[in-house]
């Protein structure tokens, strides 16, 4: 059995660890609140842009805009949204696994796909595997602004338009609730699933022309989709870090109570042994 002092020091170190995980849990909880607010602030923008895109798409049924038409797929781009740091449970590995599986299933060579990485964990993984990472953003703040990812979003959309690849998928953790999130695959480009609203939308006058508007609107729409996914991902990052830290704290409490039990038992055994020795010694003298 371990000595009393060993057990004691183990208890102390576990206590210290649990203090840290407890603090991290509370920090993540408050970050989660902020992230949810950000996601909420973004909703009016997204719903508005969707409404207008839908209205235009329904008005001009066959515009033939390159971003709306599917073409034969020679090369695919994957935009992977992960966190910069670990200690968030299965948050990063879930996304990375989903992407890696999809790639293994769809492609036979590295020439057939490219990666955009938002977040250090995803970037490091794909760089290590030797994938072609053509765009990356790391070190994003916890409350990202649109300007932070504008460049990579712009690049991702621009390279689709100029034909570098023919599809753009993004992978991120969709925030379901504070205790659960699910990996989501979303096809960003080409924009094939625009919800065409009927009835409520007014017929618009386009200035100067529907085509010119789509030229501005569609890239903006696609970039907003990416930003929306990032906000969603951030919220679930904080949520999963919070629950990971919560279970770490709980486990530490369990461990401490077990160790305390062992410690007390060992202490009692030592005392009993001492008494036995004293009694034995006294008996020998008689």
């Amino acid at each position: 059995m371990a000595s009393l002092r060993d057990i004691k020091s183990k208890i102390t170190s576990t206590k210290k660890t649990s203090q840290i995980t407890k603090a991290m849990q509370m920090v993540s909880a408050s970050k989660l609140n902020r992230a949810e607010e950000n996601a909420k602030a973004y909703v009016p923008y997204m719903s508005k842009i969707q409404e207008v895109v839908g209205a235009i798409a329904s008005g001009t049924s066959d515009s033939g805009h390159p971003m709306l038409t599917s073409r034969p797929v020679k090369k695919t781009a994957y935009l992977v949204i992960t966190a910069d740091r670990g200690l968030a449970g299965a948050y990063n590995s879930n996304v990375i696994r989903a992407v890696a599986n999809a790639i293994a299933e769809r492609h036979s060579s590295k020439e057939e796909y490219v990666i955009f990485a938002i977040g250090r964990m995803g970037r490091d993984f794909f760089l290590k595997r030797g994938s072609n990472v053509i765009g990356e953003v790391v070190g994003l703040p916890d409350q990202p602004a649109f300007a932070d990812i504008k460049e990579v979003a712009h690049k991702a959309v621009g390279m689709f338009t100029d034909g570098t690849y023919d599809e753009l998928y993004m992978y991120y953790n969709h925030f379901v609730s504070a205790i659960s999130s699910e990996v989501t695959e979303k096809k960003v480009l080409p924009l094939t699933d625009i919800a065409v609203e009927t009835g409520t939308t007014a017929s618009y006058e386009f200035e100067p022309s529907p085509e010119a508007i789509l030229e501005v609107l569609l890239p903006q729409y696609a970039e907003s989709l990416i930003f929306g996914a990032l906000l969603d991902g951030k919220a679930s990052e904080h949520a999963s870090r919070m629950s990971a830290m919560k279970s770490a704290t709980d486990n530490a409490a369990d461990l401490i109570s077990n160790l305390t039990l062992v410690y007390n038992r060992a202490r009692q055994a030592a005392i009993t042994q001492e008494i036995t020795e004293i009694v034995g010694g006294a008996a020998a003298l008689e």
Binding site: N38, Y42, P44, Y45, A145, E205, F206, A212, V216
Partner: protein, 134 residues
Amino acid sequence: MKTLTVNIVTPDGPVYDSEVDMIIAKTASGEIGILPGHIPMVAPLVAGAIKLKKEAKTEYVAVSSGFVEVRPEKVSILATSAEVASSIDLARAKEAMKRAEERLQGKSDSVDFNRAELALKRAMNRINVHEGNI
């Protein structure tokens, strides 16, 4: 007098929401004035100032690229970024302008050149809007 509801939203959240008498915006095909009862319209915006006239007062909002959606009693402006004149950080805008100018002087690689030029336009726009000389 009839008024218009104006909504300016960006991906980072709503920026402006109020009733005004008239809106003047810079679109790709020129400046337009919007009064209550305008026909439904959509137009792309270029970086510039949105003027919002409300009784005797005029407010300015600097916007970068985006578009404006007009309905008879409601106008929505969707921009990638927008700032009300009073909240513009002048020091930062001047800093950005200086950086963009330096980059423009430096090289004439087409992509970077375009980007620097756009950045310069945005910065100048913000400074102008802040100082109110439009």
